[in-house]
Amino acid sequence: MNNIALGRYIPLNSIMHRMDPRAKILAMLGMLTAIFIPTGFIGYGIMAVIIISVVFMSKLKLNFLIRAMKPMMFMLVFLMIINIFVLKTGYVVVDIYGFKIYSDAIFQTLYISIRLMLMIMITTILTATTKPLDLTLGIEDLLAPFKRFKVPAHEIAMMISIALRFIPTLIEETDRIMKAQASRGVDLAEGKFKEKILAILSLIVPLFVSSFQRAEDLADAMEARGYVPQAPRTRYKQLKRTWRDNFMLLIVLAIIIAMVALAISL
């Protein structure tokens, strides 16, 4: 439970960690856009090299990113199976007693897998190198121009930061309740279907009850301290943008242009 890698902040000291969160969010959006441009295996190969070098720049371990992708593996296997049955174009790769697996099924799956992996890597780099609080400050600042159109930037940022704040708490809570129920003979791995349903209920119900309790307590605590969402407020932490951030955004822009060019020329 505590080994979840997806979306977790890793406290290290690297160039990427020191970048401005606003710039990092924009860069991530830019890179995601670049990944969406269909550039074939050549383009994705280039993107992969770039992204992996960013991973090294952030001092993250490749191992950690691979673990972040684990939850996706199941989905990819599923996709593979569907593709094998549905896609019947290209040349035959394997022929098992008349059941033919075509090249397109394999390439298509590979193609989507690489895309997804690159996307997860990009977002993981962002969340692993940016403190959750900085991330929400960044989101709030980026949304600020939309306040004119009645977008509640501060409230959105507050909601996100509360949600992020409670993820580890919820994981801890789940872990605790799982252990408590395991002590009462719950076995999530084995047992009949009906027993399994009851086992899951024994986990979900207490989790919900305590989450609502926590939400209520938090709301009371905020109110007791006079929290008003619309109140004008200053910030203790000021975000600072440096030439490095601008430089990073320039590079991302260059990558997008290059990818578009590549896509057109293909």
Binding site: N2, I10, P11, K179, A180, S183, R184, G185, P206, V209
Partner: protein
Amino acid sequence: MPIAFKQVSYEYSPGTPFAYGALNGVDVEITEGKVTAIIGATGSGKSTLIQHLNALLLPSKGEVEVLDRTIVAGVKPKQLKSLRQNVGLVFQFPEYQLFEETILKDIIFGPINFGVEPQEAELRSLHALNVVGLDESYAEKSPLDLSGGQKRRVAIAGILAIDPYVLVLDEPTAGLDPQGSKSMMNLFMTMNRKYGKTVLIVTHDMEHVLTYCDEVIVVDKGKVILKSDVRSFFKDESLLVELNICPPKVVDMRRQLQKAGMKLPDDIFDIESLAMAIAKEVNGHE
């Protein structure tokens, strides 16, 4: 059948930047048929230690012997159910684990999981409900409508109904009123004296340690630094100072009187004997 830790180490989140060694070579044997207190500062590793007893946590190094089982680091144990049936563990703030519609259903959940026949399980559950001091009118109520202390009782009844051989409790009295915690501690002592269960209690309350426990284990920074019987533990003044433990009131009072010049024996552990010894001393002078 021993309960023993042999050079047990445990690391949380191994192989990540968050890796943390919560236990570092624990070596201790727990005496069967006794009430043992586990004490130590917050974060010293008490909860981590006791979760090894029913294999909720598996040692990173070393081995744990529990009843007829040996859990060795690196070997995935099988048939954990029988172990968990024999070692009942009540967590810190167990009131959060209730989930059924009625209290009876919640208590019965454990025994049914361990394969006890429904009728037998119901009898046991009603009995457990009584034992923790709630009458049968509670059986059909929703556990969510109870007060915190009552919920705790129900959660403990849920473990008692499993009828484990060893009972392990993580700070069972934290946050209860003095009367409630007293009856709770009495309950665990009854479990030991009447039903012969081995009881382990994690606690911060030295009065409880003195009044209800036979032996004491001191955990510090992931190590068991001492195991002793309760009386000789509280008799050793320099040891208590060294461990930064405030002695129970009776012991403290006896000590202060001794310092003030009154001649009292060292082995006084309850108010009656203290009063008696003082009376004897005072009368003897006249």
